[in-house]
């Protein structure tokens, strides 16, 4: 008879507790999104094909050894965060003409005749050793991409009043109409042509 006295537990707030927990986990758990630095590998050339000749001044050489030390242009040691500015300076130099004989009228560099002729001709080459750590290697790659993005951002802002990233987002935006997307794709292409990303990679040294 004593049993009858047990009061019923109030379960009305149970749902609230459950939802609270649910929301807590929703907020604290992050879905890992796959992201990375995209790159296009060069096609295999037939062995008979002669490699294109590139003038010394149009080549920006970044060497990376297995200790993670960085040598730029064969004579300067640099830290990772200094590479970007050096690369921008090289790419934006515009000291000469491109292959059609046009001057770089949008370059804001020093027009130094001993540095790159034109952004369309400027090549950045990365040399490494087999034992170089991948982390160091990718940090350098990231800085070089950053240099290109900085220049592209500048031109996108000057021409269209928005950053290069926003332009690309608009070109991919599935909410807007196809013609609008096409127009943005055209703009992205134009900016990419102004500063084409020409990265070359040497076979890692043993």
């Amino acid at each position: 008879m004593a049993r009858r006295d047990i009061p019923e537990i109030n379960a009305g707030s149970m749902a609230d507790i459950a939802f609270l927990l649910l929301i807590f986990f929703l907020v604290t758990t992050t879905m890992n999104v796959d992201a990375g630095i995209p790159r296009k590998l060069p096609e295999r050339q037939p062995p008979t094909e002669n490699p294109p000749k590139i003038k010394e001044k149009n080549l920006f050489l970044v060497m990376l050894n297995r200790q993670g030390e960085i040598l730029v242009e064969g004579n300067q040691y640099m830290k990772v965060d200094e590479i970007k500015d050096a690369a921008v300076k090289f790419l934006d130099n515009g000291g000469g003409v491109d292959k059609d004989g046009n001057k770089c009228d949008y370059c804001k560099g020093r027009k130094d005749p001993t540095s790159s002729d034109h952004p369309k001709k400027a090549v950045i080459s990365i040399g490494s050793a087999r034992g170089t750590s991948y982390g160091d290697y990718l940090a350098v790659q990231n800085e070089l991409v950053r240099a290109y993005n900085e220049l592209r951002d500048r031109e996108a802002d000057a021409l269209y009043g928005m950053s290069f990233k926003d332009l690309k987002e608009q070109a991919d935006n599935s909410d807007s109409s196809a013609s609008r997307r096409e127009a943005y794709k055209e703009k992205v292409k134009k900016i990419k042509e102004m500063y084409p990303m020409i990265l070359s990679e040497q076979e890692p040294l043993k």
Binding site: M1, R3, R4, I6, E8, I9, A11, M14, A15, A18, F19, L21, L22, F25, L26, T29, M31, N32, V33, D34, A35, G36, I37, P38, R39, K40, L41, P42, E43, R44, L64, S128, A129, R130, G131, T132, S133, Y134, G135, Y137, L138, A139, Q141, N142, V145, R146, N149, E203, P204
Partner: protein
Amino acid sequence: MSKFNKKKTDMPAVNTASLPDIVFMLLFFFMVTTTMREVELKIKEPKLPEATEVKKLKEKNLVSFIYVGKSKKGVKGDRIQLNDKISTVNDIKNFILAKRESVAPSDKNRLTTSIKADIGSEVGTIYDIKEKLRDINALKINYSAREVQRK
């Protein structure tokens, strides 16, 4: 008879009204925390490098993943994992060709290879992988990295 009836009404019923809530909570919890990785890692989980200039990978079904990292058993050197077994660089060719076969012909040139390599891997290993990819004309790659914001 009356005695029998009394016994039954004396039992306090367990309140099951909140049971659905609990079940739903568990369900959501597992839905949220489960990572959508189809393969089980046979190598040590690669510690991805950090980068600021990353692009998010879309269309996961068009991406093949190559994992590079250290062995779990302490074997020296970098290990490569394709699908769910440890492989060598020579297996990459068949791995990519099989992936190519599995997608629609119109998507074939949109296939991407994502290299998920540990921060401590050697550039030589990555280079060997890239050479194999070039051999079979799988040119779109993505160096997987964790996105960080620039300070």
